[in-house]
Amino acid sequence: MKKRIANLSSIILVFIMLIGWEITARIIRLPFVLPSPVEILIRLWELKAELGSTHLPATLLIIMVGLTISILLGVGLAVLMNLSKSVERALYPIIISSQTIPIIALAPIFVLWFGYSIWSKVVVTVLITFFPIAVNTFDGFLSAKKEYKELLLTMGASKKDIFLKVSIPSALPYFFSGLKVAVTLSVIGAAIGEWLGAQAGLGYFSRRMMTQFDGAGVFAPIVLLSLIGILLFLVVVGMEKWLLNWRNEK
């Protein structure tokens, strides 16, 4: 009940902000600087064929490939660091410093390396999204209680048993926290990648519209991007609820 009220108040707040935006936009009447929400929706409708047939699929592909690689890479790194202290000492600083790279400055170089193929954008997405997954999952492994491991040892368990039956279940909630951050970042990663060099995609389209002073056209694909982000987030929350059913209230 409380939760429902919280949801409702957030919806009301968004609605009020949209109305405020609409009013402001109608007053200043500079659609290429500040298009109104209604104008954006109309433009989205006009562009639906073009966006839906080429640009949306192109961006979705980057996001999906990027996230898949990020999950494999992030979890892989966390497992490696969990295996030995010296691997952890070697890898952890590299992982941290990868996040200090100004990706926007580097992205043109990725274009040089990978051309206009999807890989230049996938690399940007992966660079942004593997980090929360790796760090959270590793923290999850560290959170595994020593007492459980010892109990399993007294039952004659192998290292593999302990990893499968204690480490992984302990890390799973942390992994999902990381994944929730990663999916929202993945949308940003894909958009940045496309901004900096692409021939299709929602980020690319938005930029093209900017050169044509089409304000509503800039915003329309951005609305789609944030919808993708929200949708992915909800999918992850659903998976989390399903896999971590032991945390749910009866």
Binding site: E147, Y148, E150, L151, L152, L153, T154, M155, G156, A157, D161, K165, V166, P169, L172, L244, W246, R247, K250
Partner: protein, 258 residues
């Protein structure tokens, strides 16, 4: 001596492998202890006297600096997986259902899940947890959780069970019914039980013999035989000789605490 389930001989032990041997760090020096087959023996002692450490040595989680530990008269490798151990907290895994928790030792022994659950299901019903198989630990009371934890220890297949203060977190009434329940399980399952407690009444009610650990620095362990036949009633503890024994035990524990 082939009726002995467990023997600890001349055990020296201290935590940490520090170079300088600090005498005060020794938790045990020349510790002796045994458990006959089918016997119920308690270890009683004040907090910090090393009771749990004895169990860590027997299970193989720690290694003694000197001495031998025999299970069924044999000295086996590292002893991991040789005895059933019920730790001080229930340590049920929150992400496993009740049946999954109880079946854990069977899974580790390599039994197929379906088979393991098939074996565990009737046992859960027997300890009054029929219908709770698919609940998670958080939805059970303290007493129920302890019963699952006991079943899990019993399912390791060893006839030697080490129970570390299993009932200390329970309220007085639940505790008494759990003690009676445990005696019933012990008779039925034909196990040899070594039981840690710091409750004198509990030790007297349950045990054939009691070891009194008055704790370090290195006082020798003392042994008491409980002069009561079985089956017992709680009222038996009010007999004059039992009251005297109780006073004596409390005196020993007081003298030993720092």
């Amino acid at each position: 001596m082939n009726d002995v389930a467990l023997t600890l001989k001349n055990i020296d032990f201290r935590y940490g492998q520090s170079e300088k041997v600090n005498e005060a760090l020794f938790i045990f020096e020349n510790l002796h202890l045994y458990l006959r087959k089918g016997e119920f023996v308690s270890i009683i002692g004040p907090s910090g006297s090393g009771k749990s450490t004895i169990f860590r040595l027997i299970t193989g989680l720690e290694h003694s600096d000197a001495g031998t530990i025999l299970i069924d008269g044999k000295e086996t490798g590292n002893r991991l997986g040789e005895v059933g151990y019920m730790p001080q907290e229930d340590l049920l895994m929150p992400w496993r259902t009740i049946i999954e928790n109880a079946a854990l030792p069977l899974e580790i022994q390599g039994m197929k899940k379906v088979q393991a659950y098939h074996k565990v299901r009737p046992l859960l019903a027997e300890i009054g947890l029929g219908g709770y198989e698919d609940y998670f630990p958080k939805d059970l009371s303290g007493g129920m959780k302890q019963r699952v934890s006991f079943l899990r220890a019993a399912l390791t297949g060893s006839h030697v069970l080490l129970l570390d203060e299993p009932f200390s977190a329970l309220d007085a009434i639940t505790r008494i019914s759990m003690q009676e329940w445990l005696l019933k399980q012990w008779r039925m399952l034909e196990k040899s039980i070594l039981f840690i407690t710091h409750d004198v009444n509990e030790a007297l009610f349950l045990s054939d013999r009691i070891y009194v650990l008055t704790g370090y620095p290195k006082k020798p362990i003392q042994e008491i035989t409980v002069p009561l036949n079985r089956p017992r009633q709680l009222l038996d503890l009010n007999k004059p000789k039992m009251l005297a024994l109780k006073d004596q035990l409390i005196g020993q524990l007081r003298g030993g605490s720092r």
